[in-house]
Every structure is written in C-alpha cells, then in structure tokens.
C-alpha cells in the first residue's frame, strides 16, 4: 500500500522517495529522479525487510523536496558525510554513527545530502518489525500516530554493526544467513540505543557537550591519560559530574573508556609492530601489565593476537575473514 498523495505543493510536485531511493525495493538502481547524484544498492533478505546503502557520487550535492511514499519503518545510520532535512518543522541532522528511527508515510521532507554522503538504511514493514521484536515494538514510539522521527545516541557498537551490514550489502553474494544476522545485529543495537536514551535524558545538553569535549581530550593521546582533576577543569565540570556523566552517556567510567580505546589501538598496532613496541607506544613501561590488560579485554595475549593477525594478512581474503573473526 503506497501513499499516493500527488497534490502539487507550493506549485512544485515533490519527488517521491520510492523514485529517488528505490524505497519500494523494486528498483535496484534509482530512477531518473536520482539524477545520478548518488548510488543506491538494495537487497531484500526477506519479504518486508529491505536494506539500502546509499553513497554520494563524490561530486554533487543533492538538495531535493521529497514526498515519502514508503510505508516502512526506517532504521538508519549515517556512515559518512552530511545529511540534513526538515519534516513537520523538525530539523534532522544526524551525526556520523548516530542512529535514526523514522516512520512518516505521506510526509513531505526537504533534504540535503553532501557529495561524500554515505548512509545505511534498514526498512521493515510494521508487520515484520512486530514479528522480529514482539513487545519491544512500542518502545520506538506510537506507530498508530502515523509519525515517528527520533534519534538514538551514537555508539561504537551501532557503527560497527552498520559497517558490517553495509559490507554485506556491498559484497552481494554474501551468505544470506550472514546478511540476515547483520540485519538483526544492526536492529538490536538500535534498540539498545533506545535503552540508553532514557539515561541520557538525565544529562543536560550543556553537560553532554562538555562530556564529549572531555572524551575527545581523554582520547587525544592514548599513551598518557590526563588526571580526572585536569580533565574536569579543562571542560568546566566538577569531578563528580564528569565521572557520573561518563557512565550515563558512554556507559563506562573515565578510565575504563580510556583503557578500552587504548586496547583497541593496541590491536591495530599489533598488525605492524611487535608486542614490546606496541606496549611502549601506548605508554606502558611494563610489558606484563600491558599483556594482562590486553588479555582482560580480548581474552588472548597480545602475542597470540599478533600471530593471528599475521596469518590473516597473509591469507587470501576469503579465508582471512574467518580467521581474524575468531580473534
């Protein structure tokens, strides 16, 4: 069932989203309405479940008025570039990595996409969504009202899941089971984000801005963390607010967050450097402290992880994904 409002608006008939995005999944590429400003790749793992990956062409920005004729609930994540829009007077401007849930059949949007825009969208019919999430359904909002537009906070897990799903869409021919799994994982992290939304409300916007600055400063140099007192002073929060805010907003304490990023970085560095070099680069003077911390996060010692990554680098790509995936 498509919404077929075709009344001219302000003297201009807006483009239908199904024309532009292939949102009704019949078109593998956008029609003439897309004007070649971006490329769309669409897959339909199951009836009622469509995944779209949209990439700007790197040259042209796209500014267009749209009439949404999709009856899907959209779960999306901006992976790169900028997208801005307005619907019902509400400004929409996701940050990269931020989740977005939208259901707005028949609504008019004005949108703008930058040339380097990259965007992943999971579209589910309300029936399919109900089948997948059961009672959780109402947590996204009141679908009976016919309009849902909301952001879910950015999280590294949402971005990871979105990136994996985007890869599955791009490399078509991937296992249908893995594609389906990636869809469920992406959807799962969206719902997790909704959990954090309630907590996040307890942190006022002004504090969130300061907490984000604190996070940036904290992760600036992964070999030397600032003290909590320094960090608090630099962003103008007291230490208690800083510590509590980190837990509410990022789901972990200041040093846990630092340590997590430090170990993620360690894992990357181990591709190119040995264990001692990696430890030193990350500010460890004691290798066994580094090894213990690494094992605490990944369950393997850095030496073992390095061995695995070296194998996966030398293997053909279709084998390596299996090997590195187990590390």
């Amino acid at each position: 069932m498509q919404c077929t409002a075709t009344q001219p608006i302000d003297g201009v008939t807006p483009l239908r989203t199904s024309k532009l995005f292939g949102g009704e999944h019949s078109a593998a590429q956008p029609g003439p309405g897309g004007r070649g400003a971006f490329k769309a790749a669409l897959v339909e793992p199951r009836p009622g479940m469509v995944v779209g990956l949209y990439n700007g062409n790197g040259r042209d920005e796209l500014r267009v008025n749209l009439l949404n004729d999709s009856r899907y609930v959209h779960f999306s994540c901006l992976l790169g570039g900028t997208s801005q829009g307005r619907v019902r007077g509400i400004a929409i401007a996701p940050r990269v990595g931020e989740g977005h849930i939208g259901y707005a059949p028949g609504e008019r949007f004005s949108v703008w996409y930058s040339p380097d825009y990259r965007h992943l969208e999971l579209m589910l019919t309300p029936e399919m969504l109900g089948e997948l999430v059961g009672d959780e359904f109402e947590r996204i909002g009141d679908i009976q009202s016919g309009f849902i537009m909301r952001a879910t906070p950015p999280g590294s897990r949402t971005i990871d899941a979105a990136t994996r799903l985007a890869q599955r869409v791009e490399h078509q021919g991937a296992s249908p089971l893995l594609l389906h799994a990636a869809v469920l994982e992406f959807l799962g992290w969206h719902f997790e984000g909704l959990n954090r939304n309630g907590v996040q409300d307890a942190v006022p916007l002004r504090e969130r801005r300061r907490l984000l600055a604190a996070r940036e400063r904290l992760l600036e140099d992964l070999s030397a963390p600032p003290t909590i007192a320094e960090l608090a002073m630099e962003v103008g929060l007291n230490q208690l607010k800083l510590k509590r805010g980190f837990r509410s907003l990022f789901g972990m304490g200041v040093y846990s967050l630092f340590q997590r990023h430090r170990m993620e970085r360690a894992r990357e560095l181990l591709y190119h450097y040995n264990v001692t070099e990696t430890a030193l680069m990350l500010g460890y003077s004691n290798i066994s402290h580094f090894s213990t911390a690494f094992r605490k996060q990944f369950g393997v010692l850095p030496g073992e992880a390095r061995k695995n990554t070296l194998i996966s680098v030398q293997c053909p790509s279709h084998l390596s994904s299996g090997i590195s995936g187990s590390a």
Binding site: Q84, I90, A93, P94, R150, A202, L205, R209, A214
Partner: protein, 211 residues
C-alpha cells in the same frame, strides 16, 4: 522570557508535574538538582498553561527527533534552561525558540574555548574578560542550537555570531537566519535567547515569589 531562582518556585504543588516528570525529578540524588528540575518544569507548566488558558497539569508534551520537547497539538514554542539556581523559560508564539543560561562563575574551561568560538565571531561589545567572552558566545550559540533542536549535531565552531544591535545578534544555520539576544543578569549569570523570527519586543519577566 521568564527568569526565576528555583527556591522562589518551590511552593508549586507537585501534582502540577506529570507522573513521568515527577519520576524523573526523583532520580536526582543531589537535592539542589532535584529542586531545580522541579522548579523548571513547574514554571513551564504554569506559564504555558496561563498563556493557553488551560490548567498546566493538563498540558501534554512530546519530543522532536533529537529530543527537543514541544507541546502536543498547540502552536506555542518554548524552551527551558537552568544553571546554578537559575531557571529560565522562553516562549514564542511565532517561531521555534531556544534559550540558555550559564551561571558563569566557574573558572574558564580552557579545553572548551576552541570548541565554542568561530574564527570570525564578532561580539557586540568587547567583554571585560576572556571568561565573559566565552560565556557570551557560549550561551548565544547554545540558545541557537537548542532552538534548531538538533543538539550536539550542531558544532559551535560552525556558528558565526554577527552583532546587529548592542545586545542583539544574527546567526546563520544552513538556510535559516536565527535572531539572538544576550543579557547579563545580576550576580553575573549569562542569558541568551534565540528565535527563528525577529521580534519587535522581548519581554523579560522576573519571577520573585510564586505566580
């Protein structure tokens, strides 16, 4: 625009708040935070109720895409801010509005300077100190950003302040031109309001003892 000290609003009946707001107020562990939250939401319901001619407790609110609250089914724009024991509510009949108050008594947060200023920011009157300069720019941009309603997606470094009168500013966001005004209150607090349509008269209401 109405400003108040939270202690002056403590006399409102708790039943003025919705069950959800009341529950949220109980989540604050520090009494001062709880009182300020209560004061802000009581002020919001009381004043909006008076303007709309309905009991404040009956008003219903919903959240926009990125969390900005709005009234359900009514064409009245508002925005709340609080800092220290200050509470401020801005209301506009014509267009989206944003407001920010900063007590501004803390030391200058050095780490935030580079995040708050645009290289071409111009202030109407050069403030007395760097701290004042920071909080002037900060509150003005926070007011615009809250008005737009996209929260942290709007980096302050991309907002350029352009003075249009002794306390007034213009600030462009995409295709939109926001109008803003900055005031310094007694005790040194910085207050800024921003609205998508220019105003002929800005009424500043100071609430001293209940309403």
């Amino acid at each position: 625009m109405a400003t108040a000290r939270s202690a002056d609003l403590a006399g409102f009946a708790p039943t003025l708040l919705s069950a959800d707001e009341f529950d949220r107020s109980r989540q604050f562990r520090v009494a001062a935070d709880r009182d300020r939250f209560f004061a802000a939401h009581a002020l919001k319901r009381r004043l909006l109720g008076v303007l709309l001619g309905v009991p404040g407790a009956q008003l219903r609110f919903e959240r926009q895409w990125a969390g900005k609250p709005q009234l359900v089914g009514r064409e009245l724009h508002f925005n709340l801010s609080h800092s220290g024991d200050w509470v401020v509510l801005a209301i506009s009949r014509s267009a989206p509005v944003g407001v920010d108050i900063e007590q501004g008594d803390s030391a200058l947060p050095e780490g935030m300077l580079s995040l708050a200023l645009h290289p071409d920011d111009r202030l109407a009157r050069e403030p007395d100190s760097l701290v004042d300069r920071f909080y002037t720019a900060w509150t003005l941009k926070e007011a615009v950003s809250k008005g737009v309603g996209i929260g942290l997606a709007l980096p302050f470094t991309q907002l350029r302040l352009e003075p249009s009168a002794p306390t007034q500013y213009r600030c462009r966001h995409g295709d939109e031109l926001w109008h803003a005004e900055h005031r310094k209150l007694e005790g040194g607090a910085h207050l800024a309001v921003a609205c998508l349509s220019p105003w002929t008269r800005l009424r500043l209401l100071r609430i001293e003892r209940g309403i």
